[in-house]
Each structure stands twice: as structure tokens, then as C-alpha cells.
């Protein structure tokens, strides 16, 4: 139900992100969504891409500090209140959201969530009206 997100450690200085993005480009990998958690010293870049496993191997081979982490990718459409439904469900079950980010375009979107209790979060999402996107569907999101 979860899918693989790439988490990348980058030093907070010019050029480090470019190097990583060039690797994606050279390998023909599409980035579907990304977010950066930044501090004064360093940044953590989180990337959802078309082929996470291949991207992981590619980055690792090039000496990048990269890890695969489990996140939920929840499918959204134009009905209002969907993110609120998920967040409320998690909060009522006392599940912490470690981070989340989303994108929305042409009436559909994805919400990525990492929680501190993956198993419990899975049950909450299953009981909701929403659906998780499996990893094999990711290439479909590259339009």
C-alpha cells in the first residue's frame, strides 16, 4: 500500500541539487513530485519518481547519500475535504504525520504522507473513502 520515495541528503550549498537532478535526467527518470526539508546546514530532498528502484541504484552508484522510505500516495480528485478526511482519521487514531506534501493538476492529484505508525495508518486509510496508488501505477502519472 505504501510506495518507495527517495530521500536524499544534500549539503546546503550551490550545485548539490543540480548534480542529483542531472543524474535523473541522464538516466531518463521522471520526477513526479518532490519536496525539500531544509536546515541551515543541509537539506533532505524527497522525490517520487517513475522508477524508484532504478533511481535508487543510479544515485547510489554515483555516491549520493540516498535511502528508500515508505510513504503513502493517496489519490485525490476535485471533491473538497479529502486531505482533511485523511488527516482527521490519522489524528483520531493518534498517528503522527512525520511529513506530507502533495500536488494537484487538471482535477487530480496525489498526497504523499509519511507517518510514525505505518501499520495503523494503513488501516485508517483503508477505512476511508480514498485509495492509495501502488508503485506500479507511478509511470501513469508521467503525462
Amino acid at each position: 500500500m505504501t510506495l518507495n520515495q527517495l530521500s536524499i541528503f544534500l549539503e546546503n550549498r550551490a550545485g548539490t541539487l543540480t548534480k542529483v537532478l542531472d543524474l535523473f535526467k541522464q538516466a531518463g527518470l521522471h520526477i513526479i513530485a518532490s519536496s525539500i526539508a531544509d536546515t541551515a546546514q543541509y537539506g533532505l530532498v524527497r522525490i517520487i519518481c517513475s522508477e524508484p528502484q532504478r533511481a535508487y541504484l543510479e544515485l547510489e552508484r554515483n555516491g549520493v547519500a540516498v535511502a528508500l522510505s515508505d510513504v503513502f500516495a493517496i489519490e485525490l480528485d476535485e471533491r473538497p475535504g479529502q486531505i482533511a478526511e485523511i488527516v482527521r482519521g490519522l489524528s483520531e487514531a493518534e498517528i503522527g504525520i512525520v511529513y506530507m506534501y502533495s500536488f494537484f493538476i487538471h482535477g487530480k492529484g496525489l498526497l504523499f504522507i509519511r507517518t510514525d505508525k505505518t501499520e495503523e495508518a494503513r488501516e485508517v486509510i483503508q477505512r476511508s473513502s480514498l485509495r492509495c496508488v501502488p508503485e506500479k501505477e507511478l509511470p501513469d502519472w508521467v503525462v
Binding site: 549539503e11 536546515t39 543541509y42 555516491g63 515508505d70
Partner: protein, 436 residues
């Protein structure tokens, strides 16, 4: 004023005779009480009877920091534990600190040496004297403290930290003397300026500065900003602590308490003794120490012994300011730091590659230490994909560093392979401090 004219102004012949007598005695003492030295002398086919005059000292073996480490903690201690009344510790080159035990007599000698120093600076019973070296395992605080009590001045055991409060105390109590590192003195001056305490509001007139190298320019700046006269105070814990040597009012070289600590200058490469006036590595033999006497201890400090007599009336030999080190030891905020200590900590954590870079700087007159380490690629896992988790890892390293180094360091995490490798000898330290 001279605290002990009998010793400080002894004729050179008398001094040599006294040193020879004491050397013979100390060699006999360590031969019978420290197996390490007994074995060393036996290997060299020496007995205490071969050491009769001070000139015989060249026959004796050297002692190094490594010997102290190999004999951690009490291997070089000569006195029985029941005679030891205090234990100090200073930085070792790796994990273990250097342990020094003092007998009651040692503490007495130390206090007397410190009293000689303070008297030479012009400190007496009417002074209010603030000791702003760290109190604790470091010898600076308590060492200076005992001397101030011995001369009868009022000691203010301010220690380090809380500089603003300290500045106010200096003003409110009318503190006349201070012992601290020269860089702390500048930091104190700056703090005073920030909180509006001016030179005419304070009564400081004497500063005893040591535990780190400083220059004539720094002296001029401190004297100008704090309105005092600044004197050098030299020492090292392996030998005693502060007051192994001290400047007099001539401010031209530091008089060595050579009735207790016999100095030699050697070539650090060939280990040959060098004549007076030449710069080399300073070596000390403790002539009267009971707790942990050391024969020909290599300090790694570079300086020269000065020929000629001093205008102050003291006859004891003077040493020039320390011009450098013959090893890679750094002095940061008065604390000795060896790159190898950092290395041992970094190697103990599997998350980091066995590479590091120390960046030392002086910002607003306070030394800063940054330790750069590389995350090891294979240990960067999903657990570390939040700043909180990474900061926890940084904090773990910072805590370990603080406990080993006794000073805090800023940890800078680098990506794998981000620390530059140089050809040949790797650059592990960048010291941006400018001793102006």
C-alpha cells in the same frame, strides 16, 4: 617584590648544586617506586648513582605523552594512593586523558610557585583577584586559586562562562587582578564594552595570562582595553599546572621555577640537547615532585632558554614565548586538543566515514571548533529522512566529542566523499586563527 628571594635569586652555582642534589634524589625515588622508570634505566645500564650532578641529566631517558597514555591511569605514579590528595586530568592524544596525582607536598610546591608568579606580577594581600580559568579537572582554575590564597589576596573563583555577570562583579567588587586566557581577556573587554562598563569604572591592574599562545600585539590590545598590565603565565599539567614559569615586571621572558622544574631545549628530531639561546623543544624534569615525577618530559612546546641576567634581580633562567608545537596539538579556548582524539570519536560511530576535518577559528575573540564529518553512504537509511533524526545523530557525535575533548564542537555533516582528500599527508586541520 620577590616571594622567595632565597630560591628565585640564588647564585647560579648554588642553583646547579641544588638541582644536582635534587636530581639524584628524584632518580633514586622513581627507580624504587616506578617500575616503568626502573626498567628504562636498567635497559640503559644506569643506576641512580650514575646521576650525581645536574650535567648527568643528559644520560637519562626521555618521557613522552605516549608513555603517559601507555601507563594510564596510575602507572607513572610514584607515591602510594594514600598520599595522593588531588587528581587532575588533561587531554590525552586519544581516548584516555592524562592523569596527574598530587601529594600534599606537591600542592604546597605548586601553590608556592604560583605565589612567586603572582608576587612578580605585583599581586599582594590587598588585591581582589578573579580566577577565570576553568575550575575542575583542568589545572588552571584550582592551580591559580591556591596561589592567590597563599599570597593572601581575596580570591574570586569566577571560573569560565557567564561573562556578563563576571564583568559586573569586576566592577562592583573592585577586582584588581585576573587570571585567564588572553583570548578570554579580549572577550571580557568586548563584553564590558557591550554592557557599558568602561575602563574608568573598573580597577583591574594585573592580568595573569596563559594556557594558550599569545603575542605582543595581543598584550598591547588587552592592556589598552582593560587598563591593566598583562603578564605571561606558563605551565602544563603533566609537570604541575600553571606557574611552571612566569614573567616579571620586565615582561621579557618567563622565569622558570627551576629549583622544581629543570628545563632543557632539544632538537625534536635528533633529540640532541641544544645550547642556550637556540630554539627547540622544551623538556622538563620535575626535581621535587612526589605524586607523578617525570624525567625529561617532552612538552612539544617550542621555545628557547634566554641567556643573560634579568633586570628584576631574579637569577632563574627565562624562556621565550612559545612559538609553536613539535606535534599537531591545538590549543582551543585554553584546552589542549589533539586531532587524534577527534579521530577516535569519529571512528567509534559507524554512521560516519573515517575522515574528518577540524576547522578552528576565532570569532569575537572566542575560539570556535567545527568538526566536519562525512555521512557514510551505506548508513544513510530511511530512518534519517527527517531533520530531527539527522540532528539527533549530530547531537550524539557532538556529545561524545564534548566528553572526550572537554570543549564543545559544532558538528558539520557532509555528504559522502565531500571532504577533500589531499595527496600524501592528509589535511585534517584548518586553523583560521590569526595571532596578530
Amino acid at each position: 617584590m620577590i616571594w622567595n628571594p632565597n630560591k628565585e635569586c640564588m647564585s647560579r652555582d648554588e642553583m646547579s648544586a641544588l638541582q644536582g642534589k635534587r636530581l639524584h634524589k628524584i632518580v633514586q625515588y622513581v627507580y624504587h617506586n616506578v617500575p616503568f622508570y626502573r626498567h628504562k634505566l636498567q635497559e640503559m645500564d644506569l643506576t641512580p648513582d650514575d646521576i650525581r650532578t645536574i650535567e648527568d641529566i643528559v644520560k637519562l631517558p626521555y618521557t613522552t605523552k605516549k608513555d603517559l597514555r601507555d601507563n594510564y591511569p596510575f602507572g607513572l605514579q610514584a607515591a602510594p594512593q594514600s598520599e595522593i590528595i588531588r587528581i587532575h586530568a588533561s587531554s590525552g592524544t586519544t581516548g584516555n586523558p592524562t592523569i596527574v596525582g598530587y601529594t600534599r607536598k606537591d600542592i604546597g610546591v605548586w601553590s608556592e610557585c604560583m605565589a612567586r608568579s603572582l608576587t612578580a606580577y605585583g599581586v599582594g594581600r590587598d588585591d581582589i583577584f578573579s580566577v577565570s580559568y576553568g575550575y575542575g579537572l583542568f589545572t588552571g582554575g584550582l592551580g591559580a586559586h591556591n596561589g592567590v590564597e597563599m599570597v593572601g589576596a581575596s580570591v574570586v573563583p569566577a571560573s569560565t562562562g557567564n561573562t556578563e555577570k563576571h564583568a559586573k562583579l569586576i566592577r562592583d567588587l573592585g577586582v584588581t587582578g585576573i587570571a585567564c586566557t588572553p583570548s578570554y581577556a579580549l572577550y571580557l573587554a568586548e563584553t564590558m564594552e557591550q554592557i557599558g562598563i568602561t575602563k574608568d569604572m573598573i580597577k583591574l591592574r594585573v592580568g595573569a595570562f596563559g594556557a594558550e599562545p599569545w603575542t605582543e600585539n595581543m598584550r598591547a590590545e588587552i592592556e589598552e582595553r582593560l587598563g591593566l598590565k598583562g603578564f605571561n603565565l606558563y605551565g602544563l599539567s603533566e609537570i604541575m599546572g600553571p606557574s611552571v614559569s612566569y614573567e616579571c615586571r620586565m615582561q621579557h621572558g618567563s622565569h622558570i621555577n627551576e629549583d622544581h622544574f629543570y628545563p632543557e631545549i632539544i632538537n625534536p628530531v635528533t633529540l640532541e640537547p641544544l645550547p642556550k639561546g637556540q630554539t627547540g623543544e622544551l623538556v622538563f624534569t620535575t626535581l621535587t615532585k612526589e605524586g607523578m615525577p617525570l624525567l625529561r618530559y617532552r612538552t612539544r612546546d617550542l621555545c628557547a632558554l634566554m641567556p643573560g641576567e634579568c633586570g628584576c634581580g631574579r637569577t632563574s633562567v627565562r624562556m621565550t614565548p612559545i612559538s609553536g608545537r613539535s606535534d599537531d596539538m591545538l590549543i582551543i579556548r585554553g584546552i589542549n586538543v589533539f586531532p587524534s582524539q577527534v579521530e577516535s570519536v569519529v571512528l567509534s560511530m559507524k554512521e560516519f566515514a573515517p575522515r574528518y576535518l577540524l576547522v578552528v577559528d576565532r570569532i569575537n575573540n572566542l575560539d570556535t571548533l567545527e568538526v566536519q564529518v562525512e555521512l557514510r553512504q551505506e548508513y544513510f537509511t530511511a530512518t534519517f529522512d527527517t531533520p530531527a533524526a539527522i540532528d539527533e545523530l549530530r547531537k550524539r557525535l557532538a556529545d561524545k566529542l564534548r566528553s572526550v575533548l572537554s570543549i564543545s564542537a559544532k558538528v558539520q555533516l557532509k555528504a559522502p566523499n565531500a571532504i577533500e582528500r589531499s595527496q600524501g599527508k592528509s589535511v585534517r586541520v584548518i586553523d583560521n586563527r590569526k595571532l596578530k
